[in-house]
Symmetry: C2
Subunit: 261 residues, 2 copies
């Protein structure tokens, strides 16, 4: 075995991070401290396979509606019937829908995130991936992929399977509301050369290969797609879904609506 | 060559980070953006050799005196004669002394940090380590190791050489004002087991092995010491310096004063 200095242990990165962000926000549970006394802000650390690393404060996962971006508000306005919040995170969207009387189920692969959701009052929670959830026999009218979670479609290889799993979970007439970002409006050479490197390898330009880290834990490396609405339209071709609307009022961010064909 | 996914390029991590933090704080120079539009906070990413990673907002390097911790104010009150600010960073301490008419020189190994210092108005700046600076023939009355920079003493192996270099730069009667932190007042198992692992390897408990990362860049791995005042007293034994005062009014943080024997 080759021990690489400073490598993380594989674990529930997102859950530990959300637990700590919740503790900082509410005082519930032990808070991470700097130097044993000053509170330490909870930072999500995202590594990319070209060596890029970014840190982002994690508090936004707990933001109340007043702090949301405008597209989040427009996304929840589009919900009809029973919603599945895919990647429910700390539950900000699910809680809001539930409070408005909308039937909503939160799905996440992070046990720690689901624990925080439950503590915050989200009533209907499922642990697992969309593929695993198909066997549970439950069906939905709206699938929410918010917080940039259109990225879960990963890329060309995964797209068909991802869209098929959503279709298998869908009631007749179901829709997907997905938040995406156009990655190509930048001149930052770090980003432009990453997009070119991806294309040379036969990947979509914004097909990010990432891992998350928090304290001692890391995820495995995974693909997360940042794509234009045009690229999404191509990925949707041949699936059971049709891209019926793109709301890009907050460009480069957009909301894509897919409708079961 | 083994390509390890996501490894950084060795470079001036601190300088790039300080340049961006300065751009965010002042609007001078291009600012890093999230998703091409929203400003991204500048986060310092610190990896430890056990796999621990921490992110901390970098803005504090630019803090004006009103935002400083109390021990920083007490440290600058102790300055006499010509001061060398060891690890001048973005120049917050040097600028303050200079504005009060105190002769001060800023030393740093980061070219990018020195560039920001110069832009902010710090007049006397030197690029290099304390060892390299000895040959320049300049001598000082006060050495400042603030912002936890007592850590630059690294551990048992480096301490004698570090203290000797400071002595070689010293005028008769010179002093060192160093900011340290007692690392042992925690029950966090992540920290406690790291201290134990260090001791099993013959290292001081708080002898951190770290590297910094920012965007595509990383430093080499280096030692940075977090030690108690008692441990410092042992390291100083046999050097040209005497530990003459420990101000621990802000425990676990302290200011250690060394006097040339």
């Amino acid at each position: 075995m080759i021990a690489v200095t400073g490598e993380p242990t594989i674990g529930d990165v997102f859950g530990e991070m959300i637990r700590d962000a919740y503790a900082v926000a509410t005082g519930i549970g032990p808070r991470p401290l700097a130097g044993g006394r000053l509170p330490r802000p909870v930072i999500e650390i995202i590594e990319r396979d070209d060596g890029l690393v970014n840190g982002a404060p994690a508090g936004h996962y707990l933001d109340p509606p007043e702090a949301w971006q405008p597209y989040d508000h427009r996304a929840v306005e589009r919900v009809r019937g029973h919603a599945l919040d895919v990647g429910v995170g700390a539950g900000r969207i699910a809680l809001h829908l539930q409070q408005r009387g909308v039937p909503v189920t939160g799905l996440d692969t992070s046990v720690g995130a689901l624990r925080v959701c439950r503590h915050r009052g989200v009533r209907d929670l499922v642990h697992g991936t969309i593929d695993q959830h198909v066997a549970d026999g439950r069906r939905y009218d709206t699938f929410l992929l918010l917080g940039n979670n259109l990225g879960l479609i990963e890329g060309r290889e995964r797209a068909a399977g991802f869209l098929a799993a959503l279709a298998a979970l869908a009631r007749p007439g179901a829709q997907v509301i997905a938040h995406g970002t156009d990655p190509y409006g930048t001149t930052d050479p770090v980003q432009v050369s990453y997009h070119e490197r991806n294309r040379r390898r036969g990947r979509l330009g914004g097909q990010l290969r990432l891992r998350l880290r928090y304290r001692l834990l890391g995820t495995e490396w995974f693909d997360y797609l940042v794509c234009t609405a045009d690229e999404l339209a191509e990925l949707v071709q041949g699936s059971s879904w049709r891209l019926v609307d793109v709301d890009d009022r907050d460009h480069p961010y957009y909301l894509a609506t897919l409708q079961l064909a």
